[in-house]
Amino acid sequence: MAHGFLKFIRSTLLGLATLATVAQAGESIVLASTTSTEQSGLFNFILPIFEKDSGIAVKVVALGTGQALDVGRRGDADVLLVHDRAAEDKFVAEGHGMGRRDVMYNDFVLVGPAADAAGVKGAKDTVDAFGRIASKGATWVSRGDRSGTHAAELRLWQSAGVEPKGQGWYKEAGAGMGPTLNMAAGMGAYTLTDRGTWASFRNRQDLAILFAGDPRLYNPYGVILVNPARHPHVKRAAGERFIDWITSPAGRRAIAAYRIGNEQLFYPLPR
Amino acid sequence: MFPLSVRELRWAAGGRQVLDGLSLELGGEGITILLGPNGAGKSVFLRMLCGLLEADGGGIDWGGGPRPAQGVAMVFQQPKMLRDSLLANVELALRPLGVAAAERRGRARSVLERVGLGQREADSARGLSGGERQRLALARAWVTRPRLLLLDEPTASLDPGSVEAIERIVREIRTEGTRILMSTHNLGQATRLADDVVFIDAGRVCEHAPVQRFFARPASQAARLYIQGELPWRMAF
């Protein structure tokens, strides 16, 4: 009887799976990327261009970089587009991905309350800015979610010689860039954000960009194909087609053409 | 099913011995009225006959075999009707018998006619008066063409007009050959309907006699007192 029940479950799932695949006309790939990239609006701009050209629909699942890499490890996505070079290299070295290529970069900016009690505006460089925040004990909201932004933030604390974890002024949101900015706006706190999310963020309240432009704040993105040897169902041909396109002159043009207001957010690589 | 041979039935509940060695022989014809004070065990006995209760001791022999799966119908003192039409409620009784839908409807319709509710077959069963509900309950039992029909004080809370209607229907069911066993407090009803009377007191059968003889010359002291209206109630609280 248990065997019959399992057979029933199996056939129902098979039926649902068939329905799911029949419902979508044409080919598609699952792209695991980051919330900051999606919320910047970049995908809504460049993906229709690719889809028109290739007939392949790109389904974007937006998570933190850490989560996106986990999704890749489980084989639940075909292609990854993330921004944490160290984690990306580790991912490929472990055999979960192959063919990592540079795609684009944008930059991080340090935002905070316009009153700027920590005096970040006058800092010499990023390390100095972080140091000023720490010594003033000004409230800081961190992503705290193993995202690319979070990883970059931790590297900067390290180079400033500060251990922020456990300090009273250091708040870990454990959330995406949007909710983190919401928190910072609500608390009048400092935080590190990518320019793309900031540009399309609508709840700024008192926050403003206080520091930017330092090469340390440079944020490169990489694209990786999930390893078909590990996960045979990965759509290799379609995935490679996407990777080829986004690193091609046509893809680079699309990325560079995306603007909010008149501001270009992402710069294709190599320069 | 017949002769129905009841031997020394015993049943206790809540520390009280309700049936205390009840024995009875019933043939396959006519109307038998069960008389007795409250708490004597009439309802329990009827519930045992229709399969709702199991005896603690003694047994029932159904014409030499076990209790039949079909053929026994019961009308309760407060019958429960579904939230549906009169017709649907009567049809309900035919479903466990495996009767096809069209035949169910036909039989239900004709039975409703015979109890005088044919015009109202589509009305809601929950909107009936007491007398009408009792007629509907009778129709629901009758439609299954039972061999044995049990009734538990069916006219206890009805007006005289409804009582008369119910009695007329019961007589009609008898003429079709159904064996009827009915409990009542109404001595007049007993004289009008009964072929024979079973008098139950304190969980046992005191007397079982043809109706004329029972009322003219009751054999037991308890029956005499009951007929005179002087037997104290034995309800346990």
């Binding site: 389904k59 609508r202 709840n203 996960h231 | 709702l52 019958p79 579904l82 939230r83 009784a93 809601s124």
Partner: protein, 234 residues
Amino acid sequence: MSGLGMAFSDAFALLAGLDRRVAEIVLLSVQVSGLAVLFGTVLGLPLGACLGVGRFPGRQLLVVVLNACMGLPSVVVGVVVYLALSRSGPLGEFGLLYSPAAMVIAQTLLVVPLMAAIARQVVEDAWREYAEELTVMGFGWGGSVRVLLHDCRHSLVVAVLAGLGRAMSEVGAVMIVGGNIDRATRTMTTAIALETSKGDLPLAVALGLVLLAVILLLNGIAYALRQWAMRRYA
């Protein structure tokens, strides 16, 4: 204009203009939750009815567990279904993750215990009323369950509406197993979550008002149907 005021006017604009993307999202929400409630009705109501009628050892424990499952956190169900449907999981071969089918599965798991628990209570009360009559007529458990489900149909509508409310308002499960993919698995609730996290609060509230309007409409239809039906058989 205050944030809330903007939200109301945005909501009317969305509804009046029948914004195409909003329409897609609303349609997906109704489809996913509707299917889940359909499965919930087919699986949960008979399950609850059987528990209401049946008497067997361990029944009381089952009733307690079922009632507790009404409070299952949606995000927990989401994580469990995600791990089950993931390519690395036991049911990965079907590739159902990040599809509306996965969302239906997760919501069905949320909705079935709720509907079963309500059905159990309703049917158990009715069984107390009808048990003697149905037994004497010769109905077994299965037959009695069918009779009672039909008799309690008006009260069971409440179970269906409760399930629909739970399904349409939850965000934890569909977010995790659906991935909130634009034009594929984005429902009203995940869209609201997204707009909130982008800081576009007026739009989030506006979508919320649209969602409320849809739920109100569905409940209104159910009420009208019930009134019509009750006028036939009280």
